[in-house]
């Protein structure tokens, strides 16, 4: 799994946030568009793109894109 590709997949879930905003350090929960629906979308994207089912707890404890990437990486 490549970080750039992961960021691309992550950014694509957002309708109103420009893709350039996203870096490994982005604290996605601070973004105006962030919502519980997007949390669901992130989990579904990870399942569909990487065939990894992260738990709700893991989703809740990740705050940056890097932390989420590391969580997925653990399973690969």
């Amino acid at each position: 799994m490549e970080m750039n590709e992961f960021i691309g997949n992550f950014a694509e879930l957002f309708d109103d946030t420009a893709p350039e905003v996203f870096t490994p350090d982005t604290r996605f929960r601070d973004l105006e568009e962030w919502s519980s629906f997007l949390a669901l979308a992130v989990m579904a994207m990870i399942k569909s793109e990487y065939d990894v089912a992260i738990t709700a707890d893991e989703m809740r404890s990740a705050n940056t894109v890097q932390e989420l990437f590391d969580t997925v990486q653990k399973y690969l």
């Binding site: 669901l40 579904a44 569909s48 709700a56 809740r60």
Partner: protein, 248 residues
Amino acid sequence: MTNPFSIAGKTILVTGATSGIGRATALLCAHMDAHVLAFGRDPQRLDSLLAEMPGEGHRVFSLDLTSPEQWPSVIASLPVIDAFAACAGVASMAPFSFVTREELERVMDTNCFGPVMLVQQLLKAKKLAKGGSVVFVSSVDGPRIVHAGNSLYSASKSALVGMARNMAIDLAGKKIRVNCVLPGTTDTPMIRTGSADEQQLAETAAHLPMKRFADPGEIANAIVFLLSDAASYVNGTELVVDGGTSII
């Protein structure tokens, strides 16, 4: 005068009896002197339910609603039943763009096809008595309201209501009533399978008209009403039990 709300002596099949609403329904039926045939998948939880149910004549059965090949032997071993409470179900959330056919089939199978075809198999085996009552636990989610990311579940619960209404008409000649209960969010293990933590659940509950989720026993009360002779002219309807959530 006999009490029309009594279910004493009736034989009642309850699916999903190992947890949440189904468990509360099985226990209420047993407390009200009915004979309970409790269905679930987890044998340990079935055994602990059996130990907890007061009264006589209860039995437990392990049966998977998505494996119809298992059903004939179980159905053959059943007595004739007076009432059927279909409580088993699964939740599944994904934004529409990530819905897969495989998951849609799994949710449809458990929440709609399984319980509906089980009723048909009971009828074919002459195990559902004339004057009987069938209650499907649907949900306000789908038939009345929607939540983002809940299309899989909503579709299955709406399909169930559509089927139940038609069954009510088709089975009226056999004097079998078919109705649905539509619960709002109910405090069971199911609401802890999603992405919300306890704090988010508490915040959601605080925004509801009654400032709390339903207790599984409150849904069981509505199910038992529809199972009982007190509902003898209630057919093909949906009883919403959501504390007023779906009208605002």
